[in-house]
Symmetry: C3
Subunit: 324 residues, 3 copies
Amino acid sequence: MYSYERKKFHPQNSILNIDELLDLTSKFIIKREVIDKFEVLDISSKDRLRLNSVLFLKKRTKIPSNSFKNIFIITDDILIFENNNFKNKLLVNHLDSVYSLIANKLFIHDDNILYKDEFDLKNNSLISKYSSIDSSTKVHPNCIIGRGVEIGKNCIIKNNVVIKNAIILENVTICENTTIGSTGFGFNINNLGSSNLIPQLGIVHIGKNVHIGANCTVDRAKIDLTIIGDNSMIDNLVHVAHNVEIGKNACIAAQCGISGSVKIGNNFISGGQSGYAGHITIGNNVIVAAKSGVTKNLKHNSKVAGFPAINIYDWKKNIIKMRK
Amino acid sequence: MYSYERKKFHPQNSILNIDELLDLTSKFIIKREVIDKFEVLDISSKDRLRLNSVLFLKKRTKIPSNSFKNIFIITDDILIFENNNFKNKLLVNHLDSVYSLIANKLFIHDDNILYKDEFDLKNNSLISKYSSIDSSTKVHPNCIIGRGVEIGKNCIIKNNVVIKNAIILENVTICENTTIGSTGFGFNINNLGSSNLIPQLGIVHIGKNVHIGANCTVDRAKIDLTIIGDNSMIDNLVHVAHNVEIGKNACIAAQCGISGSVKIGNNFISGGQSGYAGHITIGNNVIVAAKSGVTKNLKHNSKVAGFPAINIYDWKKNIIKMRK
Amino acid sequence: MYSYERKKFHPQNSILNIDELLDLTSKFIIKREVIDKFEVLDISSKDRLRLNSVLFLKKRTKIPSNSFKNIFIITDDILIFENNNFKNKLLVNHLDSVYSLIANKLFIHDDNILYKDEFDLKNNSLISKYSSIDSSTKVHPNCIIGRGVEIGKNCIIKNNVVIKNAIILENVTICENTTIGSTGFGFNINNLGSSNLIPQLGIVHIGKNVHIGANCTVDRAKIDLTIIGDNSMIDNLVHVAHNVEIGKNACIAAQCGISGSVKIGNNFISGGQSGYAGHITIGNNVIVAAKSGVTKNLKHNSKVAGFPAINIYDWKKNIIKMRK
């Protein structure tokens, strides 16, 4: 997986020693076990462990087999808490609230009123002093390129585009009025309100030779990366939610919506106005007809249509039967 | 209902005395009855009467039981005209045309070429001299905050957002490239063309702690308010049409479209890409599955899916049957 | 059809004499026949022939009956190549690749890193020095009006709108954050990646009295024009793809998506969230219910609903049956 330094995008607000962390989250703690007293700098996901970090493990998560040196485990699952040899661990209720407390203490992200950036005006666009754009790349007027953003060679960023919290490789085109790296739509349904939005500390990673149309939204990940693979072509008004991963050579027609944490293989073709339920996995070489609603995992080489989406040949047969 | 002064947003163009009003609309008048000769300053809706105003009552509208002092009734319904003790009333054909004539005479709105605003450049955003933004609120660069707009404490307005004709309470976040307060899509199908757009003289009212995603559109009301209730969470690329009222604690996923004048209760949950026909009423605690098309009123606690949307359990049974 | 000069929008990069053209495309050439050795300046479509141009004829295209003086025919269809009296012709494999090579040699478009424009700052909008806007027209702040753009009398262009590669007649309103003239989503599925986007050298033509809502996208044509007819009303978040032609008096509700090359007659009414498959033809006076997916040509006066869209009365009967 691609690597990046979180605080380049989301400035470090503070570092928590273990006592401070316990203090901060005390009202949610059920059980604790602390051996190492390292300082907490960052947040890990189970797919990507970071040094001196906290790792949140939701109920029934499969435990990653990685080593856990200098990682503090926080879970709301007593089985995870009891049955593992983690050195440093907390059992809490309301894992989302504990995540939010710690994330907001460690980092300043753009849903926090303290967030700020500094810009230079270049060719009528605002380019963050903390961004890095290859000199061969063309940023058209009225864009915002935010802090931490990296843009590779020969990219074209058209007018009124906002790019924040993103790494973009070479030869990428992003069309007008598109928003890259906006906040993911993550919250606990029992705890609504803008200030309860779960902090989104990840970024967007866009591969080489990608084309993204006009008026699209690609949200940054919660902890790691929202990924759009090399050579992918995305039409207008498409929504790509947080933590989505799209493989290489995708073709996504206008007004598609891909919900959070969907994982898609290579050579994906999606017709217009299709939608994808959250957290599903889609194999390689999958074709989804226009207006489909995909609610379940799809195997490699699937061709589906309809809502809920089924095999396209079955869908066509059903249509013919219904007409009779 | 929230109160606001219309001319703060839409400058008063002129005041009409009754003779001028009769003159202006003469070619549409069928019958008239005028006792008081007050000056007309404003337009009322039946939900909100305003002093010295005109009230338009469409065919078969239920008559509000309020008092009607200094209100001029204009209707295209002979029964409304005949069977009520209004002191000042007109019977007309083409109610929409009469509304447009009077509205455009009284006020200048942003679909009128005369509309203008004056801005200060602050942090690279254009802030109307006639707007009011709490000093704790953060407006990121490249935004437009238009005339009359009020924004409360601790709001975050991200890049490239346009906010016009809106009152926004505290702790609201509005994400990139979103448009708040644009014109409602109101017109008579027999009278098309941009200059026949029915004047939209209302505003948008956004409650406390609301989150609105990127690249959304929330249109202002025709006469009163488009309302988004406290603690509501709205994802990206969502469309909220004119006169829509959404209660507290709504969760609306990406690419939903809510047509004009839909009224929605509290604790509404809407899956992505759902659509709502105009003028329907949706109760409290309603859940609508993704991709639904809701065409009728929904009672409190309904759970629906499909198009046309039906009870979600029935919908699931139908799907299973159809698969056999 | 409306006429325009391509290089006003897409600067001429170079002129190709026939030898250069043969050289450039040599690796794709199967057969050739060249009599006249004129200089190639432009690209024709079969609907609109241009002087000293290349005309690409895809497999099984019907041959236009126009005269072909100073036009160079390039086809991937041996029957077209053999059975016509074209004076100057090439038979190639990979017609799309040959088109792209020649188009990119002749013109610089905005998907090319060399594309540039020069702007004046007026009322806080950037207006290309190479555009032409009637003095009665009002461009609100934060817009981009790109090179070649012509805007007629009494238009209103609201904030944050991007207009490139477009001719707009009088009395047109375009609402906030909308993108007009962005690149069409054209590519060969076997040849992905941003640099393989097929050059889009056309423009958008918007008739008189058109209203276009907020956060819409209207893509320019590949060679000729994407057309929106007089008096048409388009709501928010609508997508109009390249080469679409919409007649007069259309009403298109929010979040509709019209795929590439769809031709639509006059007096079209489309409910919200409807979608249209590419390359279909829709007659006059057609009504399409909300959320429909139209996959086939529709005759004049059709009323359809559902996906795939069928006669609306049949659709309603089916719904009632299914409920039983």
